[in-house]
Symmetry: C2
């Protein structure tokens, strides 16, 4: 890290912005592609990885079962990376399935191996199952943060009090040679595991400390630019229940597994104004995107073969493509559109459910 | 303030706890009564004060109308103070009605005059109408904070970023001579006025910054003692819609005027665990208390005569009585019950709707 960059990083820390470049090499700085003007994100939701070839698949067709294991999950990631050549891979939790994991470190190493060996930057958040083995949530996240090519962080710099592990943000800069202002912002949050409040049953939620950090960070980022943003975490917000076939793209085949209470993060997102789409996992056989108050609420769709699913309904992954404006003089402008589609794990990795999530208004 | 107290105050500020005693005289320290073991709070909701005898009443019977003005509001407070002799008076917003106020300072001075002249400590929060004259919310709250005998604060010490004005907490100590640990905690919050987000219509809400302050403060207070707490603010939470005649005490004669979004404060309250009851105003002809997840959600009931109401349905005020345990040796223990009732503005200030909000479990 150069001296100037060091000073910028120190200043970033002082203003509570977790600049992804601060302890990273230049090669890991996130940038839009100079040829296509695109930044492509592959979301991998709910791998539920356990012990590799010893771990059987769940909810596959009878003829698939005898030859199906965690290695099918690995193969699916490898094929997705080859097909998409994403600029970033995001794992949205339940990356490993704690209860069936003999060694959580070995499981994580195997689960993330295709990302690591691809040399593509990757980021992860925690689900509700990642800590259900011998490592705490903190230790699971610590292991992830120490892995190769990851931009994951344990928590933001300069923030003393924050709930959970794996709350951080990343900034995506324009194409090579453009100035260093972020043109796309990414937020990653720990949506918890289970309620620890006896009178509240069910799953965890995003707490005031995290929302306060998000709000402060968003406000500071928006002082510099009006870049759109995306948010990734595991457990869907209660507002995912707002949709049905009349107003979403994709399918809803099970109930919304949000917390049983509303912790207000959707309101906080709407008020902040920069986040245009939220991507979660958790509900493996829901894969829709619906729009509410200008924010698309999307599922990744179940990816992992050791996760529950629906036999005959292919495992799948979501891709997001942010595209820069192609200016008349041939240069690239700011982000003009954010689109998404999914690919299902069939022979052709068939693309389905193309949709536009956001278009810049003049 | 003594030197030791000064040091304690400085320490309180450093740990973000707004100790009510820090810039107050000992006479204004809140304490339980040594004879009764009680601490009694009078809530005055929605005075809607304007220009005294020049301001007519709303929604009173035709025979009341010719002789009815803001002075009826003043008289009602004076009678309530005389009848109840409360240890604290809490004004839960819409203290003045901005649009009809010729001079907001004069209106506030007149509205709070009975509290000031009673020599009883009082606290106030803002509603959605207080700033609808020539003073901003900040300036309205600044004026209140400067008034005599008030324990109101502009905002907590040591907190750099917090939304709104009039977020603070007060600690009520045991009877005279007991140690200085708080046995009852009171939180006051600014629930805002109107949404400033174009896609969200309606009223304001309690923001992440306020919830984070509340959560931090609650956690620190609970390190010292397991004292129960009460929260006062203006706009009811969306969870007030959870009740009907089958599970509340009082009446519901209009819709719940909460924000159109859920900002999660109820979840935050449940998680914190110390707040046993919430008291709001805003909806003048609702006056119920209902319990959800161990927290009573209560309305004060409309108090002011220049506020909308219901002709023939008396203006009213809520009283809360917290009582210490009477130990076998004659000394007072910690708080063992929190009860409430209302008085209506008839000849006898008739007591109605007695109910128990919280009982200490052994």
């Amino acid at each position: 890290m150069g001296r100037l960059q060091g000073i910028i990083c120190l200043l970033s820390i002082l203003v509570l912005i977790n600049d992804a470049t601060c302890s990273r090499n230049d090669e890991q700085r996130l940038r839009f592609d100079k040829n296509t003007g695109q930044f492509r994100i592959l979301q991998v939701a709910d791998m539920h990885y356990a012990n590799g070839n010893k771990t059987p698949c769940e909810d596959v067709l009878p003829e698939q079962f005898p030859f199906c294991s965690d290695l099918n999950t690995t193969l699916f990631i490898e094929r997705m990376i080859h097909a998409e050549k994403p600029d970033l891979i995001v794992f949205t939790g339940d990356n490993i399935y704690g209860p069936d994991t003999a060694d959580p470190v070995a499981s994580m190493n195997a689960a993330f191996a295709p990302a690591v060996s691809s040399n593509i930057p990757w980021a992860a958040v925690l689900g509700n199952h990642d800590q259900e083995s011998t490592l705490s949530r903190q230790d699971v996240m610590k292991h992830i943060v120490g892995m190769k090519h990851t931009l994951s962080r344990l928590n933001p710099f300069g923030v003393d009090v924050i709930d959970g592990f794996g709350n951080y943000n990343l900034q995506v800069q324009g194409t090579e040679g453009s100035d260093s202002v972020s043109v796309l912002n990414l937020y990653f949050l720990d949506s918890g595991d289970y309620s620890t409040v006896s009178s509240i049953p069910g799953y965890g939620w995003i707490k005031p400390s995290q929302q306060f950090w998000f709000q402060e960070t968003s406000m500071k980022l928006q002082k510099n630019s009006k870049a759109p943003a995306l948010a990734y975490f595991h457990i869907p917000l209660p507002e995912y229940s707002s949709f049905d076939v009349s107003n979403f793209t994709g399918v809803k085949q099970e109930g919304i597994g949000s917390a049983s209470v509303n912790s207000g993060f959707f309101t906080t997102l709407v008020e902040a104004g920069d986040v245009k789409a939220v991507f979660t996992g958790h509900d493996h056989i829901n894969d829709f995107c619906g729009e509410l108050n200008g924010i698309s609420l999307c599922y990744g769709g179940g990816f992992g073969y050791h996760a529950y699913g629906k036999a005959g309904w292919s495992r799948r992954a979501r891709v997001v493509v942010a595209a820069l404006e192609n200016k008349l003089n041939g240069s690239w402008g700011t982000v003009e559109s954010i689109k998404t589609y999914k690919r299902v794990d069939d022979e052709d990795l068939t693309v389905i459910d193309n949709q536009v999530l956001w278009i810049k208004t003049p």
